[in-house]
Symmetry: C2
Subunit: 160 residues, 2 copies
DNA sequence: GTCTTTTATAAGACTGATTCTCGAATATAT
DNA sequence: ATATATTCGAGAATCAGTCTTATAAAAGAC
């Protein structure tokens, strides 16, 4: 059995610090959007996130940092960003939609949800990605995104 | 490249007709639940479904067959069933939670969501399952369920 | 710069799914 | 049949997400 690259707990940010926000801003203006304060504030916030945030969490986080953005704006901006493929919706139980930046290669990840404590952990697995690529080629549909959610007990909860 | 079993569009029911409802009822009573009308009606309905239903759809379907069950009961029962691992939540955009029976082996499937027309199609892929099994062994967590959602354009929408 | 036009934003009303509450109904044990 | 615990139903309450509309800000013209 081959060993693939596997990353658990934490996504490597650092090297290309605000790369996503910058390219996102460019993509937005290329797509014909003007720049507005709310949009910029949301981009900056998202860029710092390693994992997914819900609309309500975004609203709250921004107001915490004295840059209030109305709920409607959050949803509108997230919709625009998703349209252009800059963010991806993630839904993991609880009926709440979360959003996270789509980064190419490094940064792409999936989620493990602990059904006991609710913890959300990102992970990556090349074997899984390969299986998805193969499958996508064989399906009659045009697959553009995929989302994998594992449920179970996280390390901590599994012990007790 | 090996070809795995792949089923699109339609899940094979038939052979073990009401197997799920029966084992589900057993599991429930083992878990200390008494049997009530609402619960039984919901089990029967779910057993007939090939794919996921939302709480509202369940409520409506039951009232269509003259066996009304209150909204609260639907949610309560679904929660109990999920707890015991008899049903699984499926969330595929639209902010609506859907539920579907967990069947072992045949019947186990994932979902392809058309982002244009909203169509929901079940599919299975052994390669994917294998990748998940391998991954699960390597993770420090205890993985009990998994859920894969592919997004894209379905066959019909991809053409136009 | 100033004006005009277009686009973005804020505030809050509104919708619809989900949750909660609590009294009524039903199942089980005796 | 009675007692007791569980389940159920009806509707109120909550909360994420949507829609509307007036205001503010940006881009472009002059």
């Amino acid at each position: 059995m081959t060993m693939h690259a596997l990353t658990l707990n934490g996504v490597n940010v650092g090297a290309d610090e605000h790369a996503w926000a910058a390219s996102a801003a460019r993509a937005l203006s290329d797509a014909g959007y003007r720049r507005g304060g709310a949009r910029r504030a949301i981009l900056e916030l998202l860029d710092e996130q390693a994992c997914a945030l819900s609309a309500v969490e975004i609203e709250r986080a921004l107001s915490d940092r004295q840059r209030e953005v109305s709920r409607a704006s959050v949803y509108r901006v997230m919709e625009e960003l998703e349209e252009i493929g800059l963010v991806q919706r993630v839904e993991i139980g609880q009926g709440i939609v979360r959003y996270e930046p789509v980064r190419q290669g490094h940064g792409h990840h999936h989620h493990l949800v602990c059904d006991r404590c609710g913890r959300l952990e990102p992970f990556t697995d090349e074997g899984l990605e390969r299986a998805i690529r193969r499958l996508s080629e064989r399906l009659p549909a045009q697959v553009s995104e995929h989302e994998i959610v594992l449920h179970g007990a996280c390390e901590d909860c599994a012990e007790s």
